[in-house]
Symmetry: C2
Subunit: 271 residues, 2 copies
């Protein structure tokens, strides 16, 4: 399906766009089923939070209506929204009159092997570490060189995802996923106030777990805690939940809490 730029079909972008010049913008990757953008409210919430923190004055109602209209035409697949601060002249100073730019791209449904969800995956232990930047932490912004470098560390198909630590050695997330661990029946995921992307599925899992009365904790996670976990899984809003069986020399089994949450995630993504 054709991409849209500011609501019009287009396959190119102005060279003056600050998304290109500085990565000055945000994005959302949204699963679409039966013409519906899934977990739309959570995607819009994160986008609005990003706009607020980066001071990008985007029309949220317009974005919502375009996402809905585009998803309706796409039918089934993955919708990517890129929102940039718009055009500017040379230099970091933004033009206060610049209009934020909305780019919508439609892709075919993701085609991950069914075994990823059914049996589980291996994580590649990335040596690329996440830097700490509280001003940008949690946002799905366009400055993603760390993820590009981390993803370039493995080419084999043995590893479905990579594990990323921060520069202090804390366990943070996958390259394109968030990470959870289970210990003594409680659910843990990394504090993302210094780095990382606060995923929409992560937020949904925290909400669903709390609704089920499962204790949840957002905390710093050490490699030792990861090693001692009863279960480990990764998640995102496109594939749902994948159990993690291994990372380097570490081993886990796909356990009951992972399977319970996986069924819930699947229901959400089956719309």
């Amino acid at each position: 399906m054709d991409s849209w730029v500011d609501g019009q079909p287009a396959d190119v972008l102005s060279l003056k766009d600050r998304g290109l010049a500085y990565g000055d913008g945000l994005f959302e990757t949204i699963a679409v089923r039966a013409g519906q953008p899934l977990l739309l409210e959570r995607h819009l919430l994160r986008l609005a939070e990003g706009c607020s923190r980066l001071a990008i004055a985007a029309d949220q109602a317009l974005i919502r209506s375009e996402l809905t209209a585009y998803a309706s035409l796409l039918g089934e697949g993955v919708l990517k929204l890129i929102l940039t601060r718009g055009d500017s002249q040379r230099g970091y100073a933004a033009d206060p009159r610049a209009q934020p730019r909305r780019i919508l791209q439609g892709n075919a449904p993701a085609t991950y092997p069914a075994a990823h969800a059914e049996q589980g995956i291996r994580l590649f232990p990335c040596t690329t570490r996440l830097s700490e930047q509280p001003l940008l932490a949690g946002l799905k912004h366009l400055n993603r060189l760390e993820q590009v470098l981390a993803r370039s560390e493995w080419q084999d198909s043995e590893h479905a995802e990579g594990l990323m630590l921060d520069l202090s050695g804390r366990v943070i997330e996958g390259v394109f996923s968030n990470l959870f661990l289970v210990r003594d029946g409680a659910l843990f995921t990394a504090d993302l106030s210094r780095c990382g992307v606060a995923g929409v599925m992560r937020a949904e899992i925290l909400f669903q777990a709390a609704s089920l009365g499962i204790p949840t904790e957002i905390a710093d996670i050490s490699l030792e805690q990861l090693q001692q976990a009863d279960e480990v899984f990764v998640c995102n809003s496109v594939y749902g939940i994948w159990p993690v069986l291994a990372c380097g020399a570490l081993r886990w089994s796909a356990g009951p809490l992972t399977r319970k949450l996986q069924r819930i995630a699947r229901t959400l993504l089956d719309a």
Copy 2:
């Protein structure tokens, strides 16, 4: 003057470009006088270093010849080169067959007030801190949200530049400049192995100072050391050198070593 994309006049870019999606690329901003790209060898050297560290397999000879040809047509102004990893499908994994993309943009000569160089400037003390990421430190890559945020901290014309510290409180650089200080006849500039952009004019000044027998040191710089400096200046490859007179409550004078190096920088930029 028209921009070029991969050697052809163009004012738009493929929406699939990874420069837009992830800031997956590098840039150089080059002063052009009398049809010549100034400090070209140093710009090419930094670009090649960036390509090596990001594993972008760009044709350096082709880039050189395009820069030279474009500058010749531009005549006078500022040439911006953006080099991206090229197009890719959705996802952080790069397509090994992707062709890096070359974007050349021509701008009019920079129009800074003459007083910046003649009398000196005030630095705005930015609260936006630089994160530490050794894998990217020194490179002029396209992930520049920290600079965007820092530059948004002041709108007045009293401040010509901003001072950026890293998250540990070290004095690193300006938003679009490198910073030097003079103490007891020696020249100091920040170690950029954890963060910062290793500017072309910074490299040239270090080289010129060493040639003149001026002691130079690349070191961690504290706010106390900045405060106690005899002279402070900022530099880049477009404007040369600006003496720094103030930053917040701190005060300095435009001193003799700053003036000596400023004359050399001016000669280099007068081609």
